[in-house]
């Protein structure tokens, strides 16, 4: 029993970092421009697919592919922002919600037409690390490390570079930032790009652990919402914490009840937090 508990908790904990990374992307975009990005799931899928295609066609190591995926995510985010989000950024929330939902449908439609709904599997196995009874696959371990590394980079970027500081300034008060001479449009576009970058990188890391289909981004998008609410919407560190909590829950719940109950408990918690502490554990932005 204790062995099972420790094994499950470790699995969940490691996966939690990746969940957190995906949620951070959503959280960042909300924090800076108050847009709920419904194209978050497909962007996660873009990360998965890019990794897969690079691996299958060019034989590129999936962990090296992360750099390419980050670039693709950033560019994709910029494109989405410029074409779909920028025009509705000051409109009521429903407009941006619909705009990003349209982007979501377009990307999924393209994927369905080009790749179909088949399951893709990156056949790259690293085996597992065994310490006595504890058994952790290296892919999970590396994914967690990757997620931590990206988080650290993001933190350093936001707090110690000039553009990072402008992002925070715009998030804090767009008008005031503009008065200080910060080009807010560029900063907004960049933030959207960064959010997409995080989502794509998370997708890439997930694809090294699990097989996926073009629709696999969807469940992670939903998880991201739960995590953001849990940790405080618009608070990237809260997103990481939320991710860890969700990961641990996913490891813990199946020990006592059938796995099908996991989403019930997860979304139950979602509602509970919304009712009891709507700002999330670490408070909103």
């Amino acid at each position: 029993m204790v062995h099972q508990l420790i094994n499950s908790l470790t699995d969940g904990f490691l996966l939690g970092f990746v969940y957190g990374l995906a949620a951070m992307g959503l959280s960042l975009i909300w924090g800076v421009m108050s847009v709920i990005n419904l194209a978050h799931g497909p962007v996660i899928t873009v990360g998965m697919l890019t990794t897969y295609l690079l691996f299958v066609h060019l034989g590129l190591n999936p962990y090296l592919a992360l750099v390419v995926v980050a670039g693709v995510g950033l560019v994709l985010g910029l494109v989405i922002y410029i074409t779909a989000v920028h025009r509705v950024i000051s409109a009521p929330h429903l407009s941006s919600l619909l705009a990003t939902f349209a982007v979501n449908m377009i990307i999924l439609g393209i994927f369905n037409a080009v790749f179909g709904g088949d399951q893709n599997n990156i056949d790259y196995s690293l085996g597992s690390l065994s310490i006595d009874f504890l058994n952790v696959t290296y892919s999970r371990l590396l994914a967690a490390l990757g997620a931590v590394a990206v988080t650290v980079f993001l933190y350093l970027y936001l707090y110690f570079t000039r553009t990072g500081k402008s992002i925070r300034a715009v998030a804090n008060n767009r008008e005031a930032a503009e008065l200080m001479g910060i080009p807010s449009t560029r900063v907004l576009a960049l933030s959207f790009g960064l959010g997409s970058l995080l989502a794509a990188v998370a997708g890439s890391l997930i694809s090294t652990i699990f097989p996926f289909t073009i629709f696999s981004g969807g469940p992670y998008e939903l998880k991201s919402f739960v995590i953001c609410v849990l940790g405080g919407l618009g608070n990237p560190l809260g997103a990481l914490l939320g991710g860890l909590i969700l990961g641990l829950m996913e490891g813990l719940i199946p020990i006592w009840m059938p796995t099908s109950w996991v989403p019930v408990v997860e979304f139950g918690l979602f509602v509970f937090v919304l009712v009891v502490k709507p700002t999330g554990l670490l408070g909103a932005k």
């Binding site: 499950s8 699995d11 709904g117 196995s125 085996g127 597992s128 652990i209 699990f210 289909t213 796995t259």
Partner: protein, 455 residues
């Protein structure tokens, strides 16, 4: 202009409604006809008065020179059943090519009917299946039907076939429950699910007689649930202790929660579902270094593609409807006192390899066999009339390269496969290459099964 178009649409809709009405009425007279066919089976003389009416149909067509019989089905060329469904279609296409090359199927009056397929992609989607089978029957005028791959889809299509009074041979569909619904025109080519994994329990008992604990992890789908429920009952009756019995949702990719639940010192892990999930489960069991004496899973292991998961496939056992090394032959049929029909195992294997450049899996053979069963029935009936072919199918007791085909004709399980048996394969490793061999039942085995080494 608009009015004119509007009227046409209205007329078409009205015509559609009338047609629908006719379509729905059709099963009623059939329901009366079906029991009538049974006494006919006992007294052949009673069949005669019906004959002119039945023969009236093919006759005018024969005059026209070439008659084709249309066989309709949907194929899962996209979606989660792509691998298995694709192979099934390969088998079907090979059959059509060979039959038409020989001039077609011969009827009683000497005419040869060519075969034409009509098929659509069902996207591995249940809702699409019902829509498309209705279309196959109403628009494409299919004479006979073959089911799509998987029990769920086949079950969905069977309703439509029965409703419109069409014979359907199901293949790639092993679930028992479809045949417990009182259908009279649905015939199963595969060994039913209830006999899928029971042999693995016998195998475990022989390989490691001290074994006690079996963990069962299965996909929550019609077919795998039928299999594991029968498996659990059988294992318990043989004195085994089922220590874990849990289902996963169909799109599961993370099996960590299930794997962590397997109690220590479990002797065997069994279950699975379809190809994608089962290969992922096998891979994660290997990565997590789960040790057991026997791993027996559904569907995926017999597929040649299973070897793509590398080291993780080693020692895994899987039930197979058919293997290229199967020992069915005309001599064996003679010994059993039944008819032999169609190509030999070798001939099928060779022609498949020549056409597709890969080894046939049991899904490929199942596709071919379904059409072959239909061909045998049509030839025996000497007609493409539904009632006559139905009688031929009810009476069928034959051996083909696929094995024995005999249908349950009892009221409760009509159409359930009663003759066909399973073989079990295990993955071996020789000189760094993975290879599957038949290891069970002993009579059909090409190699001895072995206990999975420590991981």
């Amino acid at each position: 202009m608009r009015n004119w178009k509007g009227k046409i649409v209205l007329i078409l809709m009205a015509a559609g409604l009338v047609l629908l009405g006719c379509g729905q009425e059709a099963p009623k007279p059939q329901a009366k006809k079906a029991p009538a066919a049974k006494p006919a089976a006992e007294k052949p003389a009673a069949e005669k008065p019906k004959a002119p009416e039945a023969e009236a149909k093919p006759a005018p067509a024969a005059k026209a020179g070439e008659k084709t019989v249309i066989i309709g089905f949907t194929s899962s060329t996209t979606g989660k059943f792509k691998t298995e469904g694709g192979r099934q279609i390969n088998g079907l296409n090979l059959w059509m090519e060979q039959v038409n090359a020989k001039g077609g199927i011969k009827l009683a009056d000497g005419t040869m009917v060519k075969v034409a397929f009509k098929d659509y992609d069902d996207e591995s989607n249940k809702d699409r299946v019902q829509e498309l089978y209705t279309r196959l029957i109403n628009n494409d005028k299919a004479d006979f039907l073959i089911s799509p791959y998987s029990s769920g889809l086949a079950d969905a299509s069977a309703v439509i076939a029965q409703q419109y009074n069409k014979i359907m041979i199901t293949t790639g569909a092993a679930s028992d429950s479809t045949y417990k619904k009182g259908y009279t025109l649905i015939y199963q080519a595969y060994t039913p699910a209830s006999r899928y994994l029971t042999g693995a329990v016998d195998m475990l008992a022989k390989l490691a007689p001290k074994s006690k604990k079996i963990a069962i992890i299965y996909e929550k789908a019609k077919f795998s649930q039928d299999v594991v429920n029968a498996l659990k009952a059988y294992a318990t009756s043989k004195g085994f202790n089922v220590v874990l019995f849990e289902g996963y949702d169909k799109d599961t990719t993370d099996f960590a929660a299930f794997i962590n639940k397997i109690p220590p010192k479990t002797d065997a892990v069994m279950g699975g579902g379809h190809f994608a999930d089962t290969s992922t489960l096998s891979k994660q069991l290997y990565e997590k270094k789960v040790n057991a004496k026997l791993f027996a899973f559904l569907v995926a292991p017999p597929e040649p593609k299973f070897a793509e998961i590398g080291e993780a496939c080693f020692a895994i056992v899987g039930p197979s409807q058919w293997e290229p090394a199967a020992k069915y032959s005309a001599e064996a049929a003679k010994k059993e006192g039944m008819d032999w029909f169609g190509p030999s195992v070798q001939e099928f294997d060779d022609s498949y390899k020549t056409k597709y450049g890969e080894d046939p899996s049991y899904h490929s053979a199942g596709g071919y066999a379904a059409a072959l069963i239909l061909q045998a029935a049509i030839e025996k009936a000497g007609s493409i009339d539904t009632d006559k072919v139905k009688k031929a199918l009810d009476d069928m007791n034959m051996m083909t390269f696929f094995g024995v085909t005999k249908f349950d004709t009892g009221k409760d399980n009509h159409g359930l496969q009663a003759g066909h048996g399973m073989v079990y394969i295990q993955w071996f490793k020789e000189k760094g290459k993975f290879d599957k061999k038949i290891v069970w039942p002993p009579a059909a085995a090409a190699a001895n099964p072995f206990v999975c080494p420590a991981r």
